[in-house]
């Protein structure tokens, strides 16, 4: 048991538990706060994977910008609490749960049978080099310059679209 695996277990537990808590809380604001916790745990996992740039962006964009937007809208709109998710035993909800558990078991089985780690020969030094802002920036501004520009255009379109949609009246 080295430090890496202990950190992984802690962060993975936080991520898993907070995601389950998020879908089972009846109050939407509490769900949002658990989602923020989940995002922070994921940022920690990214650091563990040597993806420093993605980890920082995860905190700034997801835990910062997107969740503030969600909380802002949640507190702007009046939303009544839902009934406790697992107390109201509608058959359709139980059916949904059954299907998703079944799918998870299938995927987990496939992952263990496929043994993706068998074909991987990870290299710690190479992995550290991969996640740096230099290597990502180099790739982003050379081979992926067109998708990068398109992403910028998409954000512009989304900004204008959001303003038009949330406007008071359509003229």
């Amino acid at each position: 048991m080295n430090a890496e695996i202990i950190l992984f277990i802690i962060l993975a537990l936080i991520a898993a538990v907070s995601s389950v808590m998020m879908i089972t809380r009846s109050n939407a604001v509490i769900s949002a706060v658990f989602l923020v916790l989940n995002f922070f745990a994921l940022a920690g996992l990214y650091l563990l994977l040597n993806a420093q740039f993605i980890s920082v962006v995860q905190i700034i964009v997801y835990a910062g910008a997107i969740m503030v937007l969600f909380l802002f809208v949640l507190m702007l709109l009046r939303t009544e609490d839902e009934p406790k998710v697992f107390l109201d035993k509608k058959p359709i909800k139980m059916f949904a749960l059954l299907i998703t558990v079944f799918v998870f078991i299938q995927v987990a089985y496939l992952i263990f049978v496929g043994k993706p780690s068998g074909n991987l020969t990870p290299d710690q030094l190479k992995s550290i080099e991969t996640g740096t802002i230099q290597s990502i920036g180099k790739e982003l501004y050379t081979n992926y310059i067109l998708p990068f520009e398109v992403a910028g255009f998409l954000l512009l379109a989304a900004t204008i679209g959001a303003m038009v949609l949330a406007k008071k009246k359509f003229e």
């Binding site: 080295n2 040597n50 709109l77 939303t79 992995s127």
Partner: protein
């Protein structure tokens, strides 16, 4: 320094994805459904970053960067749509928002 087997990350990612799907299916608040979609996007990001790091190839992380861009745009537009719907129907319960239902 040893690597954790990549299966652990993939299982965690699969678990979070399944939890997100369950949330979309059982929650009735449109904003929470939206947050569950973000959770699913994040679980996909986790497996992309895991493979990128284990293969020593930055392209997986560039894909994660683009997924984050699209998620930000999607959150802005989606929440604007929810606000517009709330203004008309005074609710965000997706059982009551059925104006497109035939």
């Amino acid at each position: 320094m040893s690597f954790i087997p990549i299966e652990y990350y993939l299982i965690l990612s699969a678990f979070m994805f399944v939890v997100g799907v369950t949330g979309v299916l059982i929650r009735r608040n449109a904003i929470v459904v939206f947050m569950c979609i973000e959770l699913m996007l994040n679980s996909a990001n986790l497996s992309l970053v895991a493979f990128s790091s284990y293969l020593g190839n930055p392209i997986g992380q560039i894909f994660v960067f683009f997924v984050m861009t699209v998620a930000a745009a999607e959150a802005a537009v989606g929440l604007a749509i929810i606000i517009a719907v709330f203004r008309n129907k005074l609710t965000v319960n997706i059982d009551e928002i059925n104006i497109f239902k035939w």
